[in-house]
Structure formats: C-alpha cells, structure tokens
C-alpha cells in the first residue's frame, strides 16, 4: 500500500528545513526580528525558539544593516547564520552589508575566507500592505556577483532550496513569496537538497515556453491549462534559481518551442525577465525564435494599496493567457 504523501505548507517546509539543519549542524543558527516567541511575522520560524533555545533563534533589535553585518561577521568566523528579514523591502537598509561585504569579501581577500550565510526575504504583493511592504527586489541581487539567489514556488523546493542554501559555502539569498506561505504540497520528510542553479520544467509543451518565478509559476500553470483547451501547448519552466541561471534548460526549451514568454512579479523594466529574454536573444536559440520574446512583469509604479489596483499591478492569469495566445498566433 502506498504511504499517503505528506503535505506541508510552504511556511512549514521552510521551518522544517531550518529545524533539520539546526539538528544536523551546531553551527547553524537563526536570527531576525520577532522570529522567537512571535514565531516570525509570517509564522515561518514558529516554535523553533522553544525547540532550539534563544541562543540559536535570536530576536534582533530592529536594525537590518547591523543584523546583516552580524551575520557576515559570524559567517566569516565559522558560524552559519540564517537571517530572516521581516519583509524583503527592508533589505534596502542592508544592501551595504549584503552587496559590499557578504558578496565580495571572499573575492577581495583572494579566497582566504568564505561567507556561508543565508538571508530569507518574504517578498511580493497581494497582501494589501502597499508600496513599502510589497516589493519584489530579487533582480537587484541577481545582478550581484558573489551572491546566489533562489526563489522557490512550492513547499518541496522551499525546503530543498533552503537546505542547499544553508549547506552552501557562499551567501545565498532566498526569496519567499508571501502569498505562497499557506499553500500546501508534498514535502519529503527527510532532509534533501534541491540544487541551486537548476530550473525545473513543470509542464512540457510544444508551442511556447513560459519562464516564471515564485507565484507566477502557479499562474503560468493555470494559464497553460486554459491555453491547452485552446489548442496551445505551453511549456512552463519554474526558474527557481536567479543566480546562477540555468542557461541550458532555458536555451534547450526555447529551441524546441520557438517562443518565449517571461512572467515575473518584479517591476517589468530590469526584472528577471529582462535577463531571461536577453540570454535567449543572444543564444543559439535566437535563430529558432518564431516570435518576439514576450514579457509580463510588474507595472511601472509602486504597489498601490487599493486591492483592485494592486491586482492590476502584477501579472494575472488572463494576462498570461492573452500574451501567450498573441505570441503563438503571431499577433504581437
């Protein structure tokens, strides 16, 4: 008889990854604002402070720059910090330590050290939290050599990518989508690693490739189902890793389908889709392209508070369907 598949929410999967990493390795510890007794603003750390104690689940003062620097210093000296930002928007306070220090120290020191830290960023819109609590800034980090950037779309990848990130000898930025925290999916109970740098084809198709990230993966899959009814067979790739990019998977897919649509929540201009598009446009897949490369990204405005405006500011399923259709039918 089959074991019933165990399902966890995305938040629970992240929590399980941290718990397993802390069990396996004394050097791993968590830090962040209100991650202890409060359990994290989104409940991700939950009761870990009760299980691992306040020395390993450290509530920090509200001091993002300092906390990031503390993580860098601890990592330099052999500890393995996992730092939670309460919202990814607050990374703006810590870019100095992330970009000038964490990302560069190893290189600047000619390889004498490494900086094994993980930072976790709850990101994205859809919660009515307005412009300063809804951004998707992952593209900034993907622009920075020395960092790795991952963005899971499922509970399974959330756990596997976080475990890989904690193992990694270099700084890894994990972008989590707030609207996904409560979504459930199968998660193997044992510790396992999802490789950093590998995209995943979530649906194979022949007519076009849709490359999506985070919650857009789900919207792309929904769109693909609608398109299928329409006779359009979309391949959906979950990018998962924004730095390094899985060039091979992307080029191979587009070479087969001959059309590309990038769907992402970050602002359209210079969001991750810009890089995917450019990567294909300069690749051997270019000659195979039968249509311009489509992009759907966040609107060119701060995220508005009003819910209808907020929805209109990021790609939705009908937008994906329409754009995919236009690409396939040559009406772009």
């Amino acid at each position: 008889m089959d074991q019933p598949v165990r399902e966890l929410s995305y938040a629970q999967a992240l929590q399980e990854a941290m718990a397993q990493a802390m069990e396996a390795d004394d050097r791993v510890f968590l830090m962040g604002e209100d991650i202890g007794i409060y359990g994290g603003a989104f409940g991700v750390t939950g009761d870990l402070v009760e299980r691992f104690g306040a020395e390993r689940v450290i509530d920090t003062p509200i001091a993002e720059l300092g906390s990031a620097g503390v993580a860098v210093g601890a990592a330099l000296c052999g500890s393995r910090p996992v730092l939670e930002f309460q919202f990814s928007d607050f990374a703006t306070l810590a870019m100095e330590q992330i970009v000038n220090q964490a990302a560069k120290i190893r290189y600047m020191l000619g390889g004498a050290v490494s900086v094994p830290l993980v930072m976790r960023f709850p990101a994205g819109s859809g919660t009515g939290a307005a412009a300063q609590h809804s951004q998707s800034l992952e593209a900034w980090f993907a622009h920075v050599p020395g960092l790795k950037v991952v963005q899971p779309s499922t509970p399974e990848d959330a756990k596997g990518l976080l475990l890989s990130a904690i193992d990694d000898p270099d700084p890894v930025m994990l972008f989590e989508h707030k609207l996904l925290y409560k979504t459930k999916g199968p998660v193997p109970p044992e510790p396992y690693r999802t490789p950093i740098g590998k995209a995943l084809i979530r649906r194979t198709g022949r007519d076009l490739t849709i490359v999506a990230t985070a919650i857009m993966v789900h919207r792309a899959l929904e769109a693909a189902a609608i398109l299928a009814a329409d006779g359009i067979d979309a391949e959906v790739i979950d990018l998962r890793s924004l730095r390094p990019l899985d060039r091979d998977t992307l080029v191979d897919s587009v070479s087969r389908t001959t059309r590309l649509l990038c769907v992402y929540e970050g602002v359209r201009t210079l969001g991750i889709g810009a890089e995917i598009s450019a990567l294909i446009a300069e690749s051997e897949a270019f000659d195979r392209l039968d249509a311009p490369i489509g992009r759907l990204g966040g609107a060119e405005c701060p995220l508005p508070y009003n819910p209808e405006l907020e929805r209109a500011a990021v790609p939705q399923v009908p937008d994906i369907v329409d754009k995919a259709r236009a690409l396939v039918r040559g009406t772009v």
Binding site: A41, P61, A130, A131, Y305, N306
Partner: protein
C-alpha cells in the same frame, strides 16, 4: 557601568499646561483623543467586517502622546509619523472621514486609496505622512526642519517614532545631524515597551530611549505618556526651544499599546495582567477626570463631546463607504509629477 534609569517625571501640583491652553483648546484636545479612540475602534470593526484590506496598527492607549504633542504645535508646524500613525494624523487635525476613505481604498482618501493605513498623510495640516519603514521618518523630519531654516520659517517639526525605531541606524544619523545643525525638530519617542514582540529590555542596551540623547547633546525629558498634561508640558518646552532656534529636543513618552502589534498578533510575548494594568491607566479617562476635577469641563460637556464624536465617526464611515474606488485605468497616475 550601569546607568541609573532616568526616572519618569512626577507631578506635584496643577499642571502649568492647564493654564497655558485655553478651555476651548483643552476641550479640543479631549475631543481629538476621543476621536482617535473611536476611529481606531471603528477601523477595527471595519477590518473585521472585511471593509479594510491589509493590516493596520492601532494606537489605542497612546492617545495622550499623539494629542499632547500636537497640542503644542501650530497648524503650519509639521509632523512625521509612523506605521502606528492614525492618532498622530487626527492629533494634527485630519478629517476621520477622509482617513476612513483611505483605509477603504477610496478615491476620497487622503492618498486617493493608494497609500492605506501605513501611508496616511495630510499634508495640508502639516502631516508629512506615516511611514511603513521603522525609523524612516526620522531623517525626513530633519530634512523638513532644514528646509524650514532655509526658507527662514520658524515652523517646528515633530517627529514621532517608537522605542523599536531607536535601534535603527537612521535614529542615530538623524539625531546627530539635527543636533549638529541645531534644527527645530522635536523627537517624540512613543515608548510603548515593545517593538512588535520584542520588549525594550530585549532590544535596547539602555533602560530609556532618552538615555541616548546625551550622546547627541540633545536635551531630553521622560514623561508619563498616558498623561496629556505631562506630554503637552514637555512638548511645549521642546517646541518653544525649537521655534526659538535652540535646536532639537527629545521627549520620551512612556506608554503602552493595548491592542496587538497588528492584526496578526497573538500577544504571546506579554501577559494579560500587564495589559490590564495598563488599561487601568487609560489616558482618556484620566484626562477627562482631570478636566472635570479642575472644573474646566462639565459632565454635560463631556457627554456632548462624546456624542459628537460618535456621530462624526459614523458619518465618516458612511462617507468612506460611499466614496468611489480609484479607476484601474489610473494605475500609473502620480508615479511622476508630469
């Protein structure tokens, strides 16, 4: 070396502020405190009824600091506010109807429905805006004060912030610059003992935010933040100093937030006893009692005032419900000025 905890000032006789402010002004202050309380309760109910989207941070229990500080300000003076900013906004004279409209995401809201609770502002009344970023308003207040100096205006800027915000680097940089340049800023710390779940003991290496003021050469007072009179007295001193060119001051208001941090708080970091003890020190009850005792208001005045506030809140909610939503076609409006 442990510093002695600076004591909260204690009051000996009839607060001087009751002579500095006219009866009408004191009545207005009480009215605004009621308005804040009712506004917060109205917003809470509206949230429960699904009329409000997102989250919000209620200031129930902190009305005295908001209104006490604003009582010392002139209309043209400015404030910068925080994520817990409804009280500051009403304290500075905003219309609750337009605030509700904002929270309901409507076009008549102060931000045309684009900002919501965390960005509520009322620039016409001098409220430069709430801020979703803890500590975000501190340097902005300093810049506003710099602009006043440049424009040869004597308007003062009151900068509200929390105990938690005082751990941000922005606090340090802002206070240093304000003091260095002797700008007219009053830094008002609403120390409600917690930044979200984290008590000041677990986030600050000193007992009082005011203990940090000496590090900037800024005069500081610690007052009972639940006493309108004590807050207003310290605020007047600081505002007078600022207006006279004497530079910045810090006023630390010891207070307490009665509700959870935001809508998702399970209050696991504090005890019911603590919440009850602070509820018993309600700033509105206390202010009202003092005004009655001193004969500044009569029981009838208070009843009338409360009824007027009830009506204003109900009308405000109705106004907000009837206000039109923004048009989706105007998504990109106001990204730029042109």
């Amino acid at each position: 070396m442990t510093l002695p905890a600076a004591a909260i000032e204690t009051r000996t006789n009839r607060p001087a502020i009751y002579d500095r402010l006219s009866a009408a002004e004191l009545r207005e202050a009480l009215r605004r405190m009621h308005l804040i309380r009712q506004f917060e309760e109205g917003a809470e109910q509206a949230y429960m009824r699904g009329l409000i989207h997102g989250t919000m941070h209620l200031s129930i229990g902190q009305e005295a600091s908001a209104v006490g500080v604003c009582a010392a300000l002139k209309p043209q003076d400015k404030i910068t506010s925080t994520h817990r900013g409804h009280g500051h906004c009403i304290g500075k004279g905003a219309d609750p109807a337009r605030m509700f409209a904002e929270f309901f995401g409507k076009e008549d809201g102060y931000c045309r429905g684009r900002g919501g609770s965390m960005h509520i502002a009322d620039v016409a009344q001098g409220n430069l805006g709430a801020n979703g970023i803890v500590g975000g308003g501190l340097p902005i207040a300093v810049g506003a004060a710099l602009a006043m100096r440049q424009q040869k205006r004597t308007d003062v800027v009151a900068c509200f912030f929390g105990d938690g915000a005082s751990n941000e680097g922005a606090f340090h940089e802002a206070l240093n610059m304000a003091a260095l340049w002797k700008l007219g800023v009053v830094f008002v710390c609403e120390n409600n003992q917690y930044g979200m779940s984290t008590s000041t003991e677990r986030s600050m290496s000193v007992s009082n935010v005011a203990d940090r003021a000496a590090g900037y050469n800024i005069p500081a007072r610690i007052v009972d933040g639940n006493s309108f009179a004590d807050v207003a007295d310290a605020a007047f001193e600081a505002v007078d100093r600022a207006r006279a060119g004497g530079g910045p001051s810090l006023v630390e208001c010891k207070t307490y937030r009665i509700r959870g941090h935001s809508r998702s708080d399970r209050n696991r970091y504090r005890t019911r006893d603590e919440i009850e003890a602070w509820s018993a020190r309600d700033p509105i009850t206390r202010f009202e009692a003092e005004l009655l005792e001193l004969g500044i208001l009569s029981g009838g005045d208070v009843r009338a005032l409360r009824e007027a506030v009830d009506a204003e809140i109900a009308a405000g909610i109705a106004f907000a419900q009837n206000s039109p939503p923004p048009q989706v076609a105007e998504l990109l409006r106001d990204v730029h000025s042109d």
